[in-house]
């Protein structure tokens, strides 16, 4: 059977998953953590602690600042040192809560044992509450608050839950390791999400380059199905390897053969997509009472001798992580937070990890050097590669001209910033960098119009 994938565009960058054999290792707690109040899309959280306060692991330190916002919990136990501006990964100022670590005392009610809890509570409202209070956000990269995604707007019905285990970005292996090592928890998390969404069928989508994970999850589902009927209706789907398959709209296309309209939410075609790491966080929050206080981070790169998948407390300074693994090698020229396609270069190594930090990638100068820009030769490779069916060569021209009306007409706002156009351009034109500007302009024009109405 021909394996499924999404229908338009996409590229095939080299896999480079060199850290795939490294088991997830627990990083020792750093002496100090910095927790940003903007760990999610939406309104920043509002700090509820002040300097001098004693906090325990799992204690709420910031409350949601709006509907689309999330709780933030202390990832360590110790004393709050300061609440104030600090530079984030991009060097921009953001409010951070600084906590000096003392011991490792967890809040009462959090089950820190390894026992697997397969009994899923019946009350969906209580589950949703636990997800909200656990500060769970989408850990696939967009960090959208999960409880908002699980409450479909009136009139819309979810038909299928998709658990995203594609990990289509090169180098990243943290989801793969999670599937292998915590497969049971992920499947139980998926079953919880499935129940909240009204018992819809669930697909765990994994790309074919992770056969171990596919086999393991199939085994886990088979054994859990014997425990409870709640685990029926969860299937594993092996997808063809192609970037950006992990994009929400692309994944829905690959799994359900449905296309999400421009500007519409995935729920409009009856799909809810959650990441593997999010499913694990849901398991932790609902079954163990543990909010998001840590996440798996892949630390990798050809020039980096100590590849690792680490379980890192949220708010750990990047320098601490890299120093733990032997420091930054001399030939490394760039540290990227995330994968090579969509990740962003880190401007400030003293910045701390966020809930959504999935990887630290170290690249040498030869690997990151840009090709000199030459004129567009109209080959159309970018348009072939665009998974959203856009015309990047046109959008970049319009972006340079600042023609917002035409940008909107040509759907610049639909760009998912996957970087396929830039990757495929033989002329070395920084298409995405320029289109991002146009996308911003188009989006703010649309927003301004909606406000007026």
């Amino acid at each position: 059977m021909a394996r499924r994938t999404f229908s338009i565009g996409g590229v095939h960058p080299h896999d480079s998953k060199i850290s795939r054999a490294c088991a997830i290792e627990v990083l020792p707690t750093p002496p100090v953590v910095y927790l940003s109040v903007a760990q999610h899309i939406g309104a920043p959280a509002v700090p509820v602690v002040k300097p001098g306060d004693k906090v325990k692991v799992g204690q709420v330190i910031a409350e949601p600042g709006g509907f689309v916002s999330a709780f933030i919990h202390s990832s360590v136990s110790g004393t709050v040192k300061s609440v104030g501006p600090r530079k984030d990964l991009a060097g921009n100022s953001q409010t951070h809560i600084e906590i000096a670590v003392e011991g490792d005392e967890w809040l009462e009610g959090i089950d820190t044992s390894d026992t697997l809890i397969t009994d899923i509570p019946e009350d969906n409202k209580a589950i949703l509450d636990k997800i909200r209070l656990g500060g769970i956000v989408g850990l696939g990269g967009a960090t959208f608050p999960t409880h908002v995604k699980l409450s479909p707007p009136p009139g819309m019905k979810c038909e299928r839950l998709i658990i995203n285990g594609c990990e289509c970005e090169p180098y990243l292996t943290s989801d793969f390791r999670t599937l292998l090592e915590k497969g049971e928890q992920v499947v139980i998390g998926a079953a919880i999400l499935k129940q909240v969404l009204g018992g819809v069928p669930c697909t765990i989508a994994i790309e074919e380059n992770k056969p171990e994970a596919i086999a393991h999850i199939r085994e886990v589902i088979a054994s859990l199905e014997k425990v409870s009927p709640k685990f029926a209706g969860i299937e594993v789907l092996s997808l063809k390897k192609r970037y950006p398959q992990g994009g929400e709209k692309q994944l829905i296309d690959a799994v359900m053969h449905r296309q999400v309209a421009s500007g519409a939410l995935p729920i409009s075609v009856g799909a809810v997509v959650q990441n593997v790491a999010t499913a694990l966080a849901v398991y932790d929050a609902v079954q163990k009472g543990k909010p998001i206080i840590d996440n798996s981070v892949t630390v990798t790169g050809e020039c980096f001798p100590h590849q690792a998948n680490l379980l890192v407390r949220v708010g750990t300074p990047l320098r601490y992580i890299l120093d733990y693994l032997g420091g930054i090698p001399e030939e490394a020229a760039k540290v990227i937070s995330g994968g090579p396609m969509m990740g962003r270069a880190v401007a400030n190594l003293d910045a701390a990890t966020l809930k959504g930090t999935g990887a630290l990638l170290l690249l040498t100068e030869a690997q990151t050097r840009r090709r000199p820009e030459t004129n567009c030769i109209r080959c159309g490779k970018c348009a072939d590669a665009c998974p959203m069916g856009l015309e990047p060569f046109l959008l970049q021209k319009l972006s340079r001209l600042g023609d917002v009306e035409a940008l909107e007409e040509n759907a610049a706002q639909d760009c998912i910033e996957c970087g396929c156009c830039l990757y495929s351009c033989p002329a070395g034109i920084p298409l995405l960098d320029i289109i991002r500007l146009g996308k911003g302009a188009a989006l703010s024009a649309i927003r301004a119009r909606n406000v007026k109405k």
Partner: protein, 298 residues
């Protein structure tokens, strides 16, 4: 021969009929346009830069002709000369405006503001600003890619390779404001040109607290407020850890410039260089006198 005559006759008849139709249509649908629009447009500089806020010189002329007065119309490129001509055509009174000039409010030269990382992305300030805070520790300062230089239609801006900052050629700057719009960090400001070009301004927009600002750039405004206390004309305000001189109130006494601990305040086009020590002594004497008077009253 017959064919030739017939052809000429038909074409002539057709021409006559059509010319009558055209004549009637032109008479019926005649658009009355104010002749002054053309006159105004003729005296405009014709740069079509949009600095006045209209789509071009023609749009400016159309709007000016309809306007009840010229308060909301000003051509920054032509300045008072052009506005006087426009006012004469339209029969308005002339209101002279003080000439403005673009001022770059960043002092983050390569020496003052060391680089902390290297940017290898697409070299425009706008793109750079969407990606991160910049290649120095200052998140507010000039990004140095020259978007303002590219935006200037009058060749009044150039990047100084030594400082890495844009420089304004005052003789060419028309204060159209294109660079102000182009700068994603809002560093460039249109300020009063001042008598004989003399002006005083704070060359920094860093909103960080003192220690952080100073760490990022040795010539940053650290928000200490000494200038505010020194100024006897209440021309300086301190907001968000950065001082701002109101050019409408500034009397160009240069006292703030002498007192600024980081040299963030710049005075330019003054005939003599600032004798900092003399000015400081003058201020201290004045403050001493004020204290003594206070003590006497008490």
């Amino acid at each position: 021969m017959k064919v030739l005559i017939l052809t000429i006759a038909i074409i002539t008849a057709l021409g006559l009929v059509l010319s009558i139709v055209l004549f009637l249509v032109a008479k019926k649908f005649r658009v009355e346009e104010d002749p002054r629009i053309d006159e105004v447009e003729k005296v405009m500089p014709g740069a079509n830069c949009g600095g006045c806020g209209f789509a071009g010189c023609r749009a400016f002329a159309e709007s000016a002709v309809k306007a009840p007065d010229l308060d909301s119309h000003f051509c920054p490129v032509g300045g008072n000369d052009v506005m006087a001509k426009v006012a004469a055509i339209l029969g308005f009174e002339v209101k002279a405006k003080a000439p403005m000039v673009a001022v770059v409010r960043c002092n983050g030269t390569c020496a003052n503001r060391p680089k902390v990382n290297e940017y290898d992305g697409f070299a425009t300030c706008k793109v750079k600003a969407t990606l991160y805070s910049g290649d120095t520790a200052c998140a507010y300062g000039c990004l140095g890619c020259g978007d303002c230089v590219a935006a200037c239609q009058f060749g009044a801006l150039r990047m100084n390779p030594e400082t890495g900052l844009p420089e304004v050629d005052e003789t060419k700057c028309t204060a159209c404001g294109a660079c102000v719009k182009a700068c994603p960090k809002a560093i460039i400001e249109l300020r009063n040109k001042g008598p004989r070009g003399m002006r005083e301004y704070v060359s920094c927009v860093n909103k960080d607290k003192g220690p952080a600002a100073k760490k990022a750039c040795s010539a940053a405004c650290i928000g200490c407020g000494i200038c505010v206390k020194t100024c006897t004309h209440e021309a300086i305000v301190l907001e968000n850890n950065v001082a701002y001189i109101d050019y409408g109130k500034c009397k160009l006494c240069r006292e703030c410039e002498a007192m600024c601990p980081t040299g963030a305040i710049h005075g330019i086009n003054f005939p003599k260089p600032l004798d900092k020590e003399a000015v400081k002594a003058r201020i201290q004497a004045r403050q001493q006198k004020a204290r003594e008077e206070n003590n006497k009253e008490a």
